[in-house]
Amino acid sequence: MQRYLFSRVIQSLALILGVLVLVFFLVRLTGDPARLMAPRDASPERVEQIREQYGFDRPIMVQLTEYLSHAARGDFGTSYHYRAPASELIVTRLPATLELALAALAFAVVVAVPLGILGGSNPGTVMDTLARGVGLIGQTVPNFWLALMLIVIFAVDLGWFPSFGRDGPRSLVLPAVALGFFPLGQFVRLTRSAVLEVRSADYVRTAYSKGLSTRIIYLRHIFRNVSITLVSIIGVQFGYMLGGSIYIESIFAWPGIGRMINEAVQNRDFILVQGIAVFSAGFVVVIQLLTDVAYALIDPRIRYEE
């Protein structure tokens, strides 16, 4: 277990380092980062000034070393647009995004897991058809379109929820549903297929051969094994939600990181874009690490690995 944890932490650190380097080169993809960072109507002199200001005229290895050493100290440069440190901006926007992502995750899990379990335990029934249908729709409806339609129906027509802003629990409902819809579909599909698979596992047959009641078999043998599968994809879904929040936060004017990255892109504030990209990737890597630890705690095969 300790060795497993240790190697996973090392892997995660390597991955974050890799992301740092990757983003560094992505920003230099066009060959002229100064031109990229400058406003569209900037004069050549202004571009030249930016080049010197950010040190883009120096050798690339010097730039990379400096960038990495700054990043190690949590310094991702100063936002051109907000005239504030990128890391500071990210930290102030983080709570809103976390709130939205957790609400979306909760919505997805609370709806999807019971539906997937009911569908998977009763294959071929109406419940199963419903579970499969929800799983399919979750995959085929774009969240940005769903967000707009939710606004039309529930904010404009019915007036039940506000159509934008972050102002109390009611304002959280529509964005959370829109953001959680795709993960919901994934969770339903996964839960259903996991239940179907575990139901026909040999050890479940053994449990039946002992005369255990169906209730005990589901509680003790089936759900426990299904939960492993679910835990293992929560990290992936969290990554998706960070990306999806770009749309949802922009549409609902939700003051989080997703909206900020959209604004940064529109403002060509690439220092901030770079900072958010690295931060988000690092965040996902850490979440992935945590889910792996949770996984290891549930699964004795990993827990007792020598």
Partner: protein, 419 residues
């Protein structure tokens, strides 16, 4: 001797996308108290399905117990296993009838300690308290030969070897002193040396505890060393049955002959393995003919149009009440219900061959499968066959070596094992 289980005309079907699969088709047998009954057959012959359906462990749907009765003569009462309520069959499972499955690697839940997995059966069926149940589980682990049982109680299945896991499975199966133990190829997935240990363990425990055993296997050596009587299954039906010694020395059904011929010979390595040509039968068609006919070297016209009932067979030693007596009813057609009257009449085979050979078969092709029988007897460690059936015949039955079946027939796993 009184029976503990009486299965009559059991039929199990599976609805698949390709049509209805007749996995088990009219199987009848009896299990005597204290005996070990061997069931032999290749993959897809219906041996596992018929046993699992006794405890109603086949998935329904797609499976369905189509017809039949399975009377279980328990100490207190007699019940039909196939028509019990789910609640009552749940009471019998793991309590009065234990079951050991083939693959110990996947038959235990990887997320629960072996202790819990033994205990949950005890707690389901007895009134023992938590600590008593734990004590009992540790005793069981000791009983099945697991060293330092108290420590191993809290271990997870992946910390055990295959043989050790099968010991745990045995502990679970016998945890509530069952009347019957069904062992579904419990040694197939294990190493040869471990196989022998598990075999010895089950034999010792069931004798000590007086448990009747149904032992499913495709390993004839295992059956020969363990069983009192044998059923040979093919295509969802019983094609031959009898006392183990008699059946192995003088098999009468061509399939059994082939099966015994397919055994590798331990002494004198010159001879080739004999294979039964062709593939196992499709179970989709409704059986209106002998299921073995397409592969049978002795088949003739009648085999295609009629399904052979079981006939008294062969040299005619009959077991009645445990005593041997000579049979006089050779070559007489009997209805399957006959067994109801004479429960343990020994040797029968579902084949027209002996009956009609004089009229329809070419006399120049002698059927006597002496060589195969000899080999089987040697391999199974049984004495020489009666000289009456000796290898006087000039031609052994055709020994086909089919390139698609490089391994011996009994090891062939192309059939729908799970169905």
């Amino acid at each position: 001797m009184e029976p503990v289980l009486d299965v009559r005309d059991l039929a199990v079907q599976f609805e698949t996308v390709e049509g209805t699969l007749h996995a088990v088709n009219g199987v009848s047998f009896r299990l005597r108290r204290g005996e070990t009954l061997g069931i032999v057959g290749e993959s897809g012959s219906g041996k596992s399905v018929s046993m699992m359906s006794l405890l109603r462990l086949i998935p329904e749907p797609p499976g369905k117990i189509h017809r039949g009765r399975a009377l279980f003569y328990d100490a207190a009462e007699t019940v039909d296993l196939l028509s019990l309520s789910n609640r009552r069959i749940g009471f019998l499972r793991g309590n009065r009838i234990g079951y050991i499955f083939q693959d110990p690697m996947s038959s235990l839940n990887p997320l629960l300690t072996v202790g819990i997995q033994i205990r949950e059966s005890i707690e389901r069926h007895t009134r023992l308290s938590g600590t008593q149940a734990k004590q009992r589980a540790i005793e069981l682990l000791e009983l099945v030969g697991i060293p330092s049982a108290a420590q191993r109680y809290g271990n997870y299945p992946h910390q055990f070897s295959g043989g050790m896991r099968q010991r745990v499975m045995i502990a679970i199966a016998i945890s509530c002193d069952p009347a019957i133990l069904i062992a579904d190829e419990p040694t197939t997935a294990l190493d040869v040396t471990v196989q022998a240990q598990i075999l010895a363990l089950v034999r010792r425990l069931t004798q000590e505890l007086g448990i009747s055993v149904i032992w499913i296997s495709h390993d004839l050596g295992v059956i020969a060393s363990l069983a009192d009587r044998v059923l040979v299954m093919y295509g969802g039906t019983v094609v031959e049955r009898g006392d183990v010694e008699e059946l192995f020395t003088s098999p009468r059904h061509p399939y059994t002959v082939g099966l015994l011929g397919a055994l590798p010979k331990l002494q004198g390595g010159e001879e080739q393995l004999v294979n039964i040509r062709g593939t196992p039968p499709s179970l989709f068609s409704s059986p209106t003919q002998c299921p073995f006919e397409p592969r049978c070297p002795w088949a003739f016209a009648r085999c295609k149009t009629e399904r052979p009932p079981e006939f008294f067979a062969g040299t005619g030693r009959v077991y009645l009440g445990g005593t041997e007596s000579a049979s006089t009813t050779q070559d007489t057609a009997e209805s399957p219900e006959q067994e109801a009257d004479e429960p343990f009449v020994a040797h029968r085979a579902a084949c027209f061959h002996d009956l009609d050979r004089d009229q329809e078969r070419d006399p120049s092709e002698p059927p006597a499968p002496a060589q195969g029988a000899d080999k089987a007897a040697e391999a199974a460690g049984i004495g020489a066959p009666p000289s009456a059936r000796g290898s006087a015949s000039t031609d052994p039955p055709p020994a086909h070596t089919d390139s698609r079946q490089p391994s011996r027939l009994t090891g062939d796993r192309t059939g729908a094992e799970e169905l």
